[in-house]
Symmetry: C2
Subunit: 341 residues, 2 copies
């Protein structure tokens, strides 16, 4: 027992069990070629002394930490919570832990957080989206750190990624509304700076409306921060327009909830007077009244696949550069035929 720190060290365990430190280490690491008898003696000693190995010393000596780092914009949004949850669960199967850092959509913060994770010596890194400071790529490359970005997908991505096309479902959502006869569409978007997903979704909305000959004028594109209250405020702004929209496409479900609830308050009937769509398919979406038409983002599946793929990369396996997942529309009752003027 180390007198000053009162900590039990591996050396103490070795002494207690009457073996060498190497043997204790081998038992700890489930190394092959350890006799049953020795293992039992060491394990008993560990139990008796309540020994807990020092992860830092371990990481330093073995050059792996047994953890990967995830950089997520925020944990406020349950869709990321779900992904992280699934990622962590799956990593457990691989005896790997997860260090989470958030950056609130501030790319400078993201870079800073990455530096911290790298200092920690994480064995791999998960990023969201492909908007990052250039230094992010440089650092990752210089350290030869396995990494993956997710939540987005494009042809021939610069980095390995696991995700879905954000623009296509947005386009299809808009097309769905156009088919229903809507001509005055509006968009409530999350801030697009440093957020490629929000940008892609907006772009999808734009493409579809322009192709149909009824493009979105600037006043019918409102950008707001994340939050129900923000969605509600966006509703007010849009409905106060000279020619208010008959359908509102929202960049995520939470904004859509805000829009729908504000509509309800104002006595605007969804979908008879106003159609609303979301993006994410949070568990609430199907329970709204009316149930929200949205895009089912495969958050759980992303978490699972990212775990498997990153571990594989860390183990030096070759993995596909892109794993494209499906993000199907969930057509529900918040969208309906355009009202007759």
């Amino acid at each position: 027992m180390n007198k000053e720190t009162q900590r039990t060290l591996l050396e103490d365990v070795a002494r207690e069990a009457g073996v060498s430190t190497a043997s204790v280490s081998r038992v700890l690491n489930r190394a092959p070629h350890v006799s049953e008898r020795l293992r039992e003696r060491v394990e008993a000693a560990i139990e008796r002394l309540g020994y807990v190995p020092d992860g830092n010393a371990r990481a330093l000596a073995s050059r792996r930490i047994g953890a990967i780092g995830a950089l997520v914009p925020t944990l406020d949004n349950p869709i990321f919570g779900a992904m992280i949850d699934s990622l962590e669960q799956r990593l457990k199967h691989h005896d790997c832990r997860l260090l989470i850092a958030t950056y609130r959509y501030d790319l400078d913060d993201e870079l800073q957080a990455l530096r911290t994770l790298v200092q920690q010596g994480v064995d791999g890194v998960v990023l969201i989206g492909h908007d990052h400071r250039p230094a992010v790529g440089t650092l990752l490359a210089r350290r030869r750190l396995p990494f993956l970005s997710c939540w987005h997908a494009e042809d021939d991505p610069a980095w390995p990624c696991i995700g879905f096309d954000n623009a296509a479902p947005a386009r299809r959502l808009a097309e769905h509304l156009l088919r229903l006869g809507h001509r005055r569409l509006a968009v409530v978007s999350a801030p697009t700076e440093g957020n490629d997903r929000a940008r892609a979704r907006l772009e999808g909305f734009r493409q579809a409306t322009e192709a149909a000959g009824c493009p979105l004028p600037p006043e019918r594109i409102v950008t707001v921060e994340y939050g129900i209250a923000e969605g509600a405020r966006a509703f007010e702004t849009l409905m106060g327009l000279e020619a208010p929209p008959t359908a509102i496409l929202c960049g995520n479900d939470t904004l859509a909830f805000g829009v729908m609830l504000a509509a309800q308050r104002k006595g605007v009937c969804v979908p008879d007077q106003l159609s609303v769509t979301g993006f994410d398919d949070l568990s609430q979406a199907r329970f709204m009244s009316p149930p929200l038409t949205t895009v089912a983002v495969p958050a759980i599946e992303i978490g699972r696949r990212v775990a498997d793929a990153l571990i594989a990369r860390i183990d030096g396996k070759i993995m596909p550069h892109l794993q494209l997942l499906d993000a199907p529309l969930a057509l529900r009752e918040s969208t309906g035929p355009a009202p007759i003027d």
Copy 2:
């Protein structure tokens, strides 16, 4: 440059700057007694080489890691997401990082996760609630690790804690309903095993109803897992009873959302035919229709205070054993007079 790992080491920086490793370390740690000139030279060398110090080696040598660990049941519930967010923001002010681990309300997992955090060498630990395996306390004590539990509060707590009384607001919620004339109350609770908060809330509901002479029969206490769908299912169960309740007290907002949405679907009008209450005051609560009567849990404030208090403890300062916060009722329109039979 280390040939094998391709990593820049502190030693490389020292060589590049033409100084000793100790000097580089001093610059890195902003130690006193470093001349301006030396500092500039070292910083230039660091910049030039893109040097990133190894956190593990640093932690090992200095015996502090600059991070605390938080054990939370789940990140699925946005109320914990909010608390963690606020905790992390505040820790940044103290130059301290946050390691998060989740255990899905499984106390054995919690203990396991704590071991992992301790192995990582965290400088302090945050726990939720006071239901834990005994080994949690033993381990924390043995390592003399500063720690704090939060989200609960009782007189003379065994451990230092920052939180609120879970039973009192529950009692007041029930009393509110009783005053409105309700006599057949029901409860939708989260599983109480290993969850003292859920237990305290249920107990609060019980106390108030018993004091008023209309105790809760077992069939009017439904226990379900976390989730909107689960709340909706609980609604079905309760409304299928011989004598369905006129008011439903939910253990958290998400369950209440489920109940309200199921009611809406079934054409049961809230609050005219049924009163519903939640607990948490998630941002959605005030936007439900009708807005949900609930308890405002001071999640942000808890995060902030936990950060300050834990850092203070790590620095050896003496802190109050208990910080009791207020969790006021948010009386809104989901509760109303009992219907006349």
